[in-house]
């Protein structure tokens, strides 16, 4: 966890409270509420978890336990162009590891982190189910199939002038 406190936008906090209310502030709806919270804030820092805990009247520790249990939830902000490399078995045997290494080498960040300018982040995901296109890389919602180590540079080039 980062030591710097994150300041949440009041309007977003209000939105989250309404979400919790729409689920009757029930503790059993924790995962559904977290899904919505991540949609609102983009990620789930400690401060968001505190609000969720308050609204559902459960300990923050429990929220934290659930957030860290499921890989879909993240406590770190993602890049503006989040790069996800599929590391499912089909992609693995078709060379996903080399593709991942190339992204790490060029962007100089490890898996799970974001570049200093906040532009790209690298995450691994397990199977998007497009195994016919393996190895598969996703940047945001866009899917790239049959990616080679050379292809990595090409993909990044597409985002060179975007911000």
């Amino acid at each position: 966890m980062t030591s710097i406190k994150v300041k949440l936008k009041e309007s977003d906090v209000q939105k989250l409270k309404e979400v919790a209310k729409s689920f009757n502030n029930e503790a059993g709806e924790l995962i559904n509420v977290l899904h919505k919270a991540q949609e609102i804030f983009g990620y789930l820092p400690a401060e968001v978890q505190e609000v969720v805990a308050q609204e559902l009247t459960i300990p923050v520790a429990k929220v934290y336990g659930v957030v860290t249990f499921y890989s879909f939830f993240t406590m770190l902000p993602r890049g503006r162009f989040p790069i996800s490399i599929c590391t499912g078995t089909a992609c693995y045997v078709r060379g996903a590891e080399k593709v991942l290494d190339e992204f790490k080498r060029i962007l100089k960040v490890p898996v799970g982190e974001t570049t200093a300018d906040g532009k790209f982040s690298i995450t691994c995901l397990r199977c998007v189910g497009a195994c016919g296109l393996a190895p598969v890389v996703m940047v945001g919602d866009k899917t790239y199939g049959r990616v080679t180590t050379d292809g990595v540079k090409e993909i990044l080039k597409e985002y060179e002038n975007e911000d």
């Binding site: 559904n32 045997v93 393996a134 899917t143």
Partner: protein
């Protein structure tokens, strides 16, 4: 004329959606609305060559169709009736163009029961499902049958759970029906976490109503009025189509109160997973639906006794449900006539890896691995040699050449050290290192272990570390015995299926590829040339023409040499990224 465009995730990813829009536009511009119907269907299964367009009634099967081909498809095929030859599928072995799906090796040996409607109907239109005998089984059950008779029919069919365990479905229903409570639940497990498997997703995307219909039948027979579908949040398209299907079914009175005037109430809700493999285990799934960490609980009590919110709950997998309406319509006897003695019906497999025809297939139980890989799958990519096939995902094992003629069913696969699992089938060739593959699966297990019981949490981590040492050439032959013993302990003492099966990739590779392990431990060599610490890249002097391609593409500038001179790789700087080997046109780089 119908033009069916695959709208599954695989084809979506390769611009299938734009193709669909372009085709519709072309039809309109040519005023063909009355003659040509463009329909987005579920997955055809032939994901390798997507996007796919199939023309009905002549079954012409176009592959790798691009959005810009829409104009030609309409102008040539729809208007002039001429087949566009360049878009036809070419048989990888015979190198011939195949005009229609009936003649493709990929489809010839398939028998589609669970996937009967995938690629045939528009999944977002309930009328198409109804036209394909949809909800007929539900009507028959609700209006003409007693719950016990329905359960008996499922027992007689011999259907076994398709999620991996292979437990007889009818027996499961019977147990749940005998436990009395004020509220019972029916749960559809759509948390397909096995990497490299996409059977359930394709069914939900291609034929969502068949799952809803089966859930109503399930609810009626065990006395449950509420159904829940637990689905991965990573499947946005499947979720969207499920929501549409639920709304349509409610509007038609096929879900809700007093369905078809039978007096039976049943409704379905969706619950989202959040990326945890262990949640495929039914007790963990139930915990997750309750908003908790998805940790499995001890059985008994089984979910059929005390499940969701402490009430009797029946959990079945998507593919299991997809079989139910057909069994009711065609009878248990018919279903039981397909398959082997103890495994009835068909199984859907996600065929992937180093194979020519990656895709989704459904075959009768009892077919051999050889038929699946070499006839349906079209053999190994790039003319390479078959090495292994991994079934059952992270819980399964790697089988070899000698297992190829094994008839596939639940018991046979267990007997040879693998398992059916949910249906992932990954083919590997001579370039894959089996030690590295075992390590890959253990890496997965370590990440996905929920941490509740120590054999799984600690043991798998130790297994991974041991495998890591082997791939780095830092282990001895004696360590292989340790690896085996530890595997047995984890298998025998873990709480749930995840830990009980996680050593399978290790044990099966130790059994079937012992020599490869020995090459790593005794000779510090990786025969497949995969394990980075045990390989080095060298320039083959007699092949090198000094074109400088390798040096120019080396990301760390560790290759030196003048133009037209033999180049040299500085081993101390080389990061083994493979770029030089990929770039060299003269076969002058070798992995040693």
């Amino acid at each position: 004329m119908h033009m069916l465009v695959c709208g599954g995730t695989g084809c979506h990813a390769s611009a299938g959606e734009m193709l669909f829009e372009n085709l519709k536009k072309e039809v309109q511009e040519n005023n063909l609305q009355d003659e040509v119907q463009v329909i987005a269907t579920g997955c055809f299964g032939f994901c390798e060559k997507g996007p796919i367009v199939k023309v009905i009634p002549d079954n012409t099967f176009y592959v790798q169709v691009e959005p810009k081909d829409a104009k030609e498809l309409i102008a040539e095929h729809a208007i002039k009736g001429r087949v566009i030859k360049r878009l036809l599928y070419i048989d990888p072995v015979k190198k011939e163009q195949i005009p229609d799906s009936k003649h493709m090796g990929f489809y010839k040996k398939q028998l589609r029961i669970a996937l009967r409607n995938c690629g045939m109907i528009d999944p977002e239109n309930i009328d198409e499902y109804l036209a394909a005998d949809g909800y007929e089984a539900m009507g028959k059950v609700l209006l003409e049958m007693k719950p016990d008779a329905v359960i008996q029919e499922i027992i007689d069919s011999g259907l076994r759970g398709r999620g991996g365990g292979g437990f007889p479905t009818g027996v499961k229903w019977q147990i749940a029906s005998k436990n009395h409570a004020d509220q019972k639940y029916v749960v559809c497990n759509a948390d397909e976490g096995d990497p490299g498997a996409f059977m359930d997703r394709s069914i939900l995307e291609g034929d969502p109503h068949c799952v809803l219909e089966a859930m109503v039948i399930n609810g009626f027979s065990i006395g449950a009025t509420k159904g829940l579908i637990y689905i991965r949040a990573e499947y946005p398209l499947a979720i969207k189509r499920l929501k549409i299907a639920i709304d349509q079914a409610r509007n038609y009175g096929l879900l809700g109160t007093d369905i078809l005037g039978s007096g039976f109430d049943f409704d379905v809700e969706i619950r989202y997973g959040a990326g945890a493999f262990v949640c495929g285990e039914e007790t963990a799934l139930i915990r997750s639906m309750e908003g908790e960490r998805g940790e499995p609980t001890f059985k008994p009590p089984f979910p059929a006794q005390s499940g969701y919110l402490g009430k009797p709950t029946n959990v079945n997998n998507v593919e299991t449900y997809a079989n139910i309406p057909v069994i009711i319509n065609k009878g248990a006897k018919w279903f039981a006539s397909i398959g082997t003695e103890k495994s009835k019906g068909t199984k859907v497999f996600a065929l992937a890896g180093k194979i020519n025809n990656v895709g989704l297939i459904e075959v009768p139980m009892g077919i051999t691995l050889r038929e699946v890989i070499f006839e349906i799958g079209g053999g190994i990519q790039g003319g390479k040699k078959f090495k292994a096939v991994q079934t059952g995902g992270p819980s399964g094992g790697c089988l070899t050449e000698k297992h190829l003629d094994t008839p596939i069913d639940f018991d046979n696969l267990l007997a040879v050290g693998s398992m059916m699992g949910s249906g992932g089938m990954i083919v590997m060739d001579e370039d894959d290192c089996m030690v590295a593959v075992a390590k890959f699966y253990l890496d997965f297990t370590v990440e996905e272990s929920c941490g509740k019981c120590s054999p799984c949490r600690v043991g798998n981590k130790r297994l991974y570390e041991q495998l890591d040492l082997i791939t780095k050439g830092k282990a001895t032959e004696k360590d292989l015995d340790k690896l085996r013993n530890l595997s047995y302990v984890i298998r025998d003492t873990s709480l749930c299926g995840l830990g009980q099966t996680s050593p399978n990739p290790v044990l099966s590779t130790l059994d079937n590829f012992r020599e490869e392990y020995l090459a790593h431990t005794n000779e510090h060599r990786c025969p497949a040339g995969v394990c980075k610490d045990l390989i080095r890249y060298e320039v083959i002097a007699e092949n090198c023409v000094g074109c400088t391609a390798c040096a120019r593409n080396c990301p760390v500038n560790c290759i030196s040499g003048e133009r037209k001179q033999v180049h040299v790789i500085d081993q101390s700087l080389c990061i083994k990224c493979n770029a030089c080997l990929e770039k060299c046109k003269f076969n002058a780089i070798a992995v040693i």
